[in-house]
Amino acid sequence: MNKPFQKIYFDPYIFFSLFLLSILGLFFLFSASNADMSIVFKQFIYVVVGFIVMILISQPDPDIFRRMSGLFLIFSLLLLGITYLFGPEINGAQRWVRIGPMSFQSSELLKLAVPIFLAKFLFDKKLPIQRKEIIISLLIIFCCFFIVFRQPDLGTALIIACSGLLVLFLSGLSWSFIGGSIILLIISSPFIWNILLQPFQRQRIATFFNPESDPFGASWNIIQSKVAIGSGGLLGKGFGEGSQTQLNFLPETETDFIFSVIGEEFGFLGVLLLLSIYLFLLLRCFYLALSARDRFCRLVIGGLSLTFAANLIINLCMVVGLLPVVGMPLPFISKGGSSLMSLFIAFGIIVSMGTHKKFLPQ
């Protein structure tokens, strides 16, 4: 302990879970992409780089993250601003920034920067948190949310807001404030519906509540996803044998709807296995959060792992038809380097927070 560089900070449970998820992910991606090796290989590179990054990130002392959190948030916002001004437009949204051969979705960084910054801002505040602190926190959350939302990327914006609010909640936001906010949200919902949401977003929500109204239009995705999962049965149709996937009835198989591919080809047992790994990973994070050395670490682990969990359950609920369709990848499985990188970074931070036991006087 006196010579920190002689120790490698490493959590075998998290490492093993992520290793399994990544291997399975590559496997599923192979089938989901109709056996496109170039996609799988690219993803494989991201996975390898991701593991290296995660291990590197786990090494520094949590204090460093705490001290850098402000800078990190400003850097993330700057990068987002650059993207907004100069980034290439893909599907009507400016989200990407190019770093060498990799293009990076700059909003991914905010998913990390917001909860870490808020954890730093709130960890030494007395309970209950004061109104001034709540308002500052909410302002930060809202600004970040709004910038990403305007890209427009509702999915990521919601996750960013979620990550901030989770930290706020964990740090001891009073219940009366929570209740008041919920009432306010309900009152303002018509305003959100009519002014803030884009027509296609309204359409998605409308079809969610009545999917059979337009089977070939907006609800095609969710109907085909259900058919894919349902037709998989208990044991699935077999690797590469899913007709919904292989004949392209299922949309977005490599990204948002990759869970439907797993359901179709590996059946209920495959789904059970996958969800068990996620559950194991989350329980480990929960343990690390409870046993972390200080409040800052607890808040960061809790914030990051619950953000990851929110990301996971939103995707799952969406593809099985429990939530409207929002663009949200399945963590560690879906194609996409940016989200994979930010996930590995997040878990690197979680491991760092969870494994550094040096007691610091507060």
């Binding site: 740090s171 349902g230 049965g233 004949l247 209920f268 789904v271 989350l282 409040r295 607890r298 619950l306």
Partner: protein, 611 residues
């Protein structure tokens, strides 16, 4: 104090984190339950939905059964022709493709335009499209030599429904034409897939519209097969999955006789009329001919609109099947029926004699009903009344009849009802009654109406089919044969017999002797046909007046207008004394029955008997 505060914070964090992680676990369980309900409870539904998504079944057209005459000679068959078929998905540039194939296959400008239009509509489906039907041998040879240049086209066999006797059998066989309700026969194939049907006929999906083709459509149709393709979400065929062969329709074996039908057509010539002949052993219809006719080959294989309109507008009405739809007064051919009535009701007997002055005066009004021969036939009994066709005798007999009873009697002989078991759109013609006359003409039935009925004039109308059925009943001494075109075998209903206490076997023998005399004796009205044959024939001729006339002068006037001339009618059966065939002939505006319709009946009997 510091420690205490941290403990509060820690407890606060723990409970809140537990709450959130607990919530996440609950949601994961909810997802798992939902997946379970999709994959285990809803499995069969979703499996079916997934199959529906990817399986694209198209019907494979079955061939229709063929139709044969009683000797097993083909009446309608499926004849192969060769079509040039293209694969639109492999044609990148239609114009250059058409230009390339131009020197090989002759294409009119209209052909090209039609093809381009269809190509556009169908191009999204990986499917075949006919470029030209019925290629000539020369075109086939030219294409085969160059086929390696055309990976996107090939020649395939397509059938056409062809009869070697398209005119003489047109009404009885009927024609087929394109149909768009075949999808009902295979509900497992969605209606929208039928446009991609694999066709066996050049004319597409077809269905019998008239005649035997219609009546026996289900029997002839067979069962379409199907080919199932795997299809992707873009609607492209990926690969064929399975194939169920079509089942060819059953052949139809009929009682028709090509030679006899040919005779009927030959001797009727271009006159309008109809011939029906019935086999007395089986009740089978050997001849069912109506003139003028039309070509079923043209109609079944795509007749152009002008030709079709010409047929429809033809004043001779070639589509009209006179044999089963033509309504003609039976004229003197009804006399045996009236005689049967008189005998069975004891109004007359064979020995009863009366004087025939050439006319009958109705006692009530003094109205005069004339015979066909001025001066009459002298003393006549029933036998002679049949031979010379005395009108006066039957006027007088009918005068004593009760019209309701007489109508019932005519009905018992098959008049006023459909008699053929499997004729397409048969007319039931008509027996007049007082109620009918009152309700349609608002006039009461008068005795004169009954008197007119006695010689088959007036309101009574019959079809040639009913006359042939009546002739066969006379020939078999009362058997109802229930005529049918197709050999039905065990499907036939039990045979009924016409019976009456007042009309016994000796009456039947005397009736046969009298009807034999009509043709074979020196006094018979139809003796002119006696020497046309080697066997003996019994029968009764008739001349149906279209205009009721009271004087010979007026008659001469009418003769000059062809369409007002009398119809010539005969019923006959032979060879006597053991008749095997019965026949009826009606020739419109043919005048004198025996001399005009008679030879046709004899020639038809000759071909049936001599075969």
């Amino acid at each position: 104090m510091i420690f205490e505060e941290r403990q509060i914070e820690k407890n606060n964090f723990s409970s809140r984190a537990t709450l959130l992680f607990g919530f996440i676990i609950l949601v994961l369980i909810a997802v798992l339950i939902k997946v379970f309900s999709l994959q285990v409870s809803g499995y069969s539904d979703y499996q079916l939905a997934a199959l529906k998504n990817k399986n694209y079944a198209v019907p494979v057209q079955s061939l229709r059964g063929e139709i044969f005459d009683r000797k097993g000679r083909a009446l309608v068959k499926n004849e192969p022709t060769f079509d040039l078929i293209t694969r639109p998905n492999l044609i990148l540039d239609i114009d250059s493709f058409l230009e390339e194939i131009g020197p090989v296959i002759f294409l009119s400008q209209a052909d090209k335009l039609k093809y381009k239009k269809l190509q556009k509509e169908k191009a999204f489906v990986n499917k075949e499209l006919v470029l030209k039907k019925d290629l000539s041998a020369e075109e086939i040879a030219r294409f085969n030599v160059r086929s390696f240049n055309f990976q996107n086209a090939f020649i395939a066999k397509r059938y056409r429904r062809i009869s070697d006797y398209p005119l003489i059998f047109s009404h009885v066989l009927g024609y087929t034409s394109r149909t768009d309700d075949d999808y009902q026969s295979m509900p497992e194939i969605p209606r929208s897939h039928w446009k991609d049907a694999e066709l066996s006929y050049a004319h597409g999906l077809i269905k019998g519209r008239t005649g035997l083709e219609q009546i026996y459509n289900d029997h002839l149709s067979g069962k379409h097969g199907q080919r199932v393709y795997e299809m992707n979400a873009k609607g492209q065929f990926v690969q064929p999955l399975s194939f169920f062969e079509p089942v060819k329709g059953s052949d139809l074996f009929t009682n028709l006789d090509i030679e006899a039908q040919k005779s009927a057509a030959k001797y009727l010539g271009d006159r309008k009329g109809a011939v029906v002949a019935i086999d007395l052993e089986s009740g089978g219809i050997n001849v069912l001919y109506s003139s003028p006719a039309y070509s079923i080959n043209k109609l079944s294989n795509g007749m152009n609109e002008i030709e079709f309109q010409d047929l429809i507008n033809d004043p001779d009405k070639p589509f009209f099947n006179r044999a089963i739809q033509g309504r003609y007064p039976p004229a003197s051919t009804i006399k045996p029926a009236i005689g049967m009535y008189g005998l069975s009701k004891n109004i007359v007997n064979w020995d009863f004699e009366m004087k025939d002055p050439g006319f009958f005066t109705l006692p009530e009004t003094g109205r005069v009903f004339r015979g066909w021969r001025k001066g009459g036939h002298g003393k006549v009994d029933m036998h002679k009344a049949f031979l010379v066709s005395s009108n006066t005798y039957f006027f007088s007999l009918a005068y004593q009849a009760d019209i309701q009873e007489l109508a019932n009697h005519l009905s018992s002989l098959g008049f006023g009802q459909k008699v053929c078991l499997d004729c397409f759109d048969e007319d039931q013609a008509f027996i007049p009654t007082p109620e009918w006359k009152y309700s349609t003409m608002n006039e009461g039935w008068v005795k004169g109406d009954t008197v007119n009925l006695g010689i088959g004039q007036g309101y009574l109308v019959t079809t040639p089919m009913q006359l042939a059925n009546y002739a066969s009943l006379l020939a078999t001494k009362g058997k109802f044969l229930e005529p049918s075109i197709v050999i039905l075998g065990s499907q036939r209903k039990s045979k009924k017999i016409w019976q009456d206490n007042g009309f016994d076997n000796s009456d039947w023998s005397k009736m046969h002797t009298a009807l034999l005399g009509v043709i074979e004796s020196d006094y018979g009205t139809a003796r002119s046909i006696r020497d046309l044959k080697e066997f003996k024939v019994a029968g009764k001729s008739g001349t149906a007046e279209l205009v009721s006339l009271d004087s010979k002068e007026a008659y001469q006037e009418v003769r000059t207008s062809e369409l007002l001339r009398d119809h010539s009618i005969i019923i006959a059966f032979g060879p006597m004394p053991n008749p095997r065939y019965a026949v009826s002939v009606v020739i419109e505006n043919g005048e004198s029955g025996g001399a005009v319709a008679g030879p046709v009946a004899i020639e038809v009997l000759k071909s049936l008997i001599n075969e």
